[in-house]
C-alpha cells in the first residue's frame, strides 16, 4: 500500500456510510445560512445602508459561507468522529488492519473538509442565484472551504480525542464555535474595532476564513490573503499532529 491509500480507503468508507443521509445534510447545510441571510441580511439590512462599502446582504453572504464551512466540518469531526471512535467502534476495527491512527485522523479530517466543500457549494449556488456573489473568483471559495474544513476538522478531532461523552461537545460548540461565529467578522467588519479586539480576533481561525471568503467573493484578492492561508494551513498541521497523538493515546494504550 502506498502512503495515503489507507486514508483514502477510510474516506471512501465515510462517504459510503453517509450517502443515505445526504438529504438531511443538504437541508441543514442550506437552511442555516439562508435563514441568517434572510433575517439578518435583508431584515436588519434594511436599516443598514452600507457595510464595508457594500449592501449588507452582500457583505454578510461570504461570512456565512465561511461559517457554513466551519459548521459542517466541526459537526462531522466531533459528533461523527466520536460516534466512530466510541459507539460504533469503527476506529478499533480499522486499527486491526494495516491502517494507522494517522490514516484514520487524516481520513476523518479529509471527510470533514469534503462536507465543508459540499455545504459551501450549496450555499454558493443559492447566494449566487440571489445575485449576492458578483465575481467569478467566487469559485475559489470551494478550495477555501476545503482548507477551512481541514482546519476545523483537525481542531474538532482534537476535541473528540479529549471528549468523555457527547456532552463534552457543548463546551466546544458554545464557547468555541458559537463565539467565533459572532466575533470573527461574519456580521460586521473588524476594522472599526479597538486594537485589542482585532488582536484577539486574529487568533480565531474563522477570522481568517472570513477574510478569504469576503475578498474572493468581492473579486478583490490581495497578497495579504496568503497570510490567512498560511495561518489556517499551519493550524491544520498543528491540530492534526496533536489529534493523532491524542487518539493514539486513547486507543492504543
Amino acid at each position: 500500500m502506498w502512503p495515503g491509500q489507507g486514508m483514502l480507503r477510510i474516506w471512501w468508507r465515510d462517504f459510503q456510510s453517509w450517502k443515505r443521509y445526504a438529504p438531511a445534510f443538504v437541508v441543514s447545510a442550506i437552511g442555516g445560512p439562508i435563514f441568517y441571510l434572510v433575517a439578518i441580511g435583508y431584515g436588519v439590512g434594511r436599516f443598514v445602508t452600507d457595510m464595508g462599502g457594500m449592501p449588507y446582504a452582500e457583505f454578510l453572504a461570504p461570512g456565512l459561507v465561511a461559517a457554513a464551512a466551519m459548521n459542517s466540518a466541526s459537526f462531522e469531526a466531533t459528533y461523527g468522529s466520536f460516534t466512530r471512535m466510541t459507539e460504533q467502534e469503527t476506529y478499533r476495527a480499522i486499527l486491526a488492519t494495516p491502517c494507522s491512527v494517522a490514516d484514520i485522523v487524516a481520513a476523518d479530517a479529509l471527510w470533514s473538509a469534503t462536507k465543508s466543500v459540499l455545504a459551501v457549494a450549496f450555499v454558493l449556488a443559492i447566494t449566487g442565484a440571489l445575485g449576492l456573489v458578483r465575481s467569478p473568483l467566487a469559485v475559489a471559495l470551494l478550495p477555501v472551504a476545503f482548507l477551512v474544513g481541514l482546519a476545523f476538522g483537525t481542531l474538532g478531532l482534537v476535541v473528540t480525542a479529549l471528549a468523555s461523552s457527547y456532552n463534552s461537545f457543548e463546551y466546544y460548540f458554545t464557547l468555541g464555535i458559537s463565539s467565533m461565529f459572532v466575533f470573527s467578522g461574519v456580521f460586521f467588519p473588524l476594522d472599526g474595532m479597538p486594537g485589542w479586539a482585532q488582536a484577539l480576533a486574529w487568533f480565531l481561525p474563522l477570522t481568517h476564513a472570513v477574510n478569504l471568503c469576503r475578498a474572493l467573493a468581492a473579486g478583490a484578492p490581495s497578497l495579504a490573503l496568503l497570510g490567512d492561508v498560511a495561518w489556517l494551513a499551519g493550524m491544520t498541521v498543528g491540530a492534526f499532529l496533536l489529534a493523532e497523538r491524542l487518539v493514539r493515546r486513547r486507543l492504543l494504550q
Binding site: 460504533q88 488492519t97 491502517c99 494504550q253
Partner: protein
C-alpha cells in the same frame, strides 16, 4: 501440580513467541512474566477470570498495546511500531465488541474492510462472496447491519476477520452474549476453519467452548499463566477422574465435614456451602462410603470447569 509445559510445542513454525511478557497500568501489573507459544495450525485457548490478563495479552499480540517488558514475536516479526503494519496485515482479529459499519450492507462491510488491507476490488468481491456463504448470510447480503441478529453479526465479524486470508485468527470472547443456538453456529464455523488448518488464538469464559474448540489451553490468573495443556491433560493433572459434589444445608457446618474427610485419598475443595472431592482411579471407595453415609451427594466426571475453579479459586472477580 499444574506446571506450564511449553516443551510440547514444536520448535518450528511458531506464529506467536512470547517470553517474559509484562504490562503494567500504573501500580497494577496486568500481565506478569507471561511466556507462550502458538504453533502454526494450532487452536489455543486462553482462559481466566475477569482481570486475569487475557485481553491485555491479546492486545499486546495484536499490536494494540505496547508491552512493558519481555520479547514478543508474531507471525515471525518482533512486535514493534515499525512492524505493526506488516504484522496486522497477516492477522484476522475479532474484538470483543461488534464493530461492523451499521450503515453499510453485509457485502460492503466485507469489501470495504478488504480495501484496508489493499485487496484489489475484484478480488475483494470474490472473497466477500465466499465469506458470505461461509457465514451463512447469503440471504442478507444486501441487508444493513442494524437488521441482523446478534449471532449473524458475530458470524459477519468472523467472516470480516478472514478477508485478508490471515496467518492467524485472534478471537477475543467470540461468543459472549450469544444464545446457545447462535453460539453453536459460531463454534461450527470456527471448527471448520480449524479443520482447514487455520491457526487460532481465542479467549473465552466458557469452559465448554474451550473444551470443544481448543487443542491446547492456557489458564491465566492475576496476570500469570497458572497452567498449560490439552483439555484432557489439564482435567487429569489438576483434578482427576471424578468429582463428588456435596451440598450442605444451612444448619450443617461444612467445616465439620471437611475435617472428617481430611486425610482421604482425594482432594477437598470447599466453597461457601458446597464441598467438592476430587477422586482419582476410584481410590478410597470404602472410606468414601462411610464418610458420606446418610448424605446426599452427586457424583460426576471431572470437567474443565473443575480445573478452572481449582486453579483460580471460587471467589467472585469483579
Amino acid at each position: 501440580m499444574c506446571v506450564p509445559d511449553d516443551a510440547r510445542v514444536a520448535e518450528r513454525g511458531l506464529v506467536i513467541e512470547a517470553r517474559g511478557l509484562r504490562k503494567r497500568y500504573g501500580s497494577r501489573t496486568a500481565v506478569d512474566d507471561v511466556s507462550l507459544d502458538v504453533a502454526a495450525g494450532e487452536c489455543v485457548g486462553v482462559l481466566g477470570p475477569n482481570g486475569a490478563g487475557k485481553t491485555t495479552t491479546i492486545k499486546m499480540v495484536t499490536c494494540f498495546l505496547p508491552p512493558d517488558g519481555g520479547t514478543l514475536r508474531v507471525v515471525g516479526r518482533a512486535v514493534h511500531p515499525r512492524n505493526h503494519r506488516a504484522i496486522k496485515a497477516r492477522l484476522g482479529i475479532v474484538q470483543q465488541q461488534d464493530s461492523l459499519d451499521p450503515d453499510l450492507s453485509v457485502e460492503k462491510n466485507l469489501t470495504i474492510y478488504a480495501s484496508y488491507f489493499g485487496v484489489p476490488r475484484a478480488e475483494a468481491r470474490r472473497r466477500a462472496d465466499e465469506l458470505i456463504r461461509f457465514a451463512a448470510l447469503a440471504e442478507h447480503r444486501h441487508a444493513r447491519i442494524r437488521t441482523l441478529s446478534g449471532g449473524m453479526k458475530r458470524r459477519l465479524m468472523l467472516a470480516r476477520a478472514l478477508v485478508n486470508e490471515p496467518a492467524m485468527l485472534v478471537l477475543d470472547e467470540p461468543t459472549t452474549g450469544l444464545d446457545p443456538q447462535a453460539r453453536r453456529l459460531v463454534w461450527e464455523r470456527i471448527r471448520s476453519l480449524k479443520g482447514d488448518g487455520t491457526t487460532i488464538l481465542l479467549t473465552t469464559h466458557y469452559m465448554e467452548e474451550a473444551a470443544r474448540l481448543c487443542d491446547r489451553l492456557i489458564i491465566m490468573d492475576g496476570g500469570r499463566i497458572v497452567a498449560v495443556g490439552t483439555p484432557e491433560e489439564l482435567v487429569q493433572r489438576c483434578v482427576g477422574d471424578e468429582v463428588i459434589e456435596i451440598r450442605m444445608d444451612d444448619e450443617d457446618d461444612p467445616r465439620e465435614l471437611v475435617a472428617r474427610l481430611a486425610g482421604g485419598p482425594w482432594r477437598i475443595e470447599h466453597a461457601e456451602r458446597t464441598v467438592h472431592l476430587h477422586l482419582r482411579d476410584g481410590a478410597g471407595e470404602v472410606a468414601l462410603a462411610s464418610a458420606l453415609a446418610g448424605r446426599e451427594f452427586a457424583r460426576r466426571r471431572a470437567t474443565l470447569e473443575d480445573v478452572f475453579l481449582t486453579l483460580t479459586g471460587h471467589s467472585l472477580r469483579d
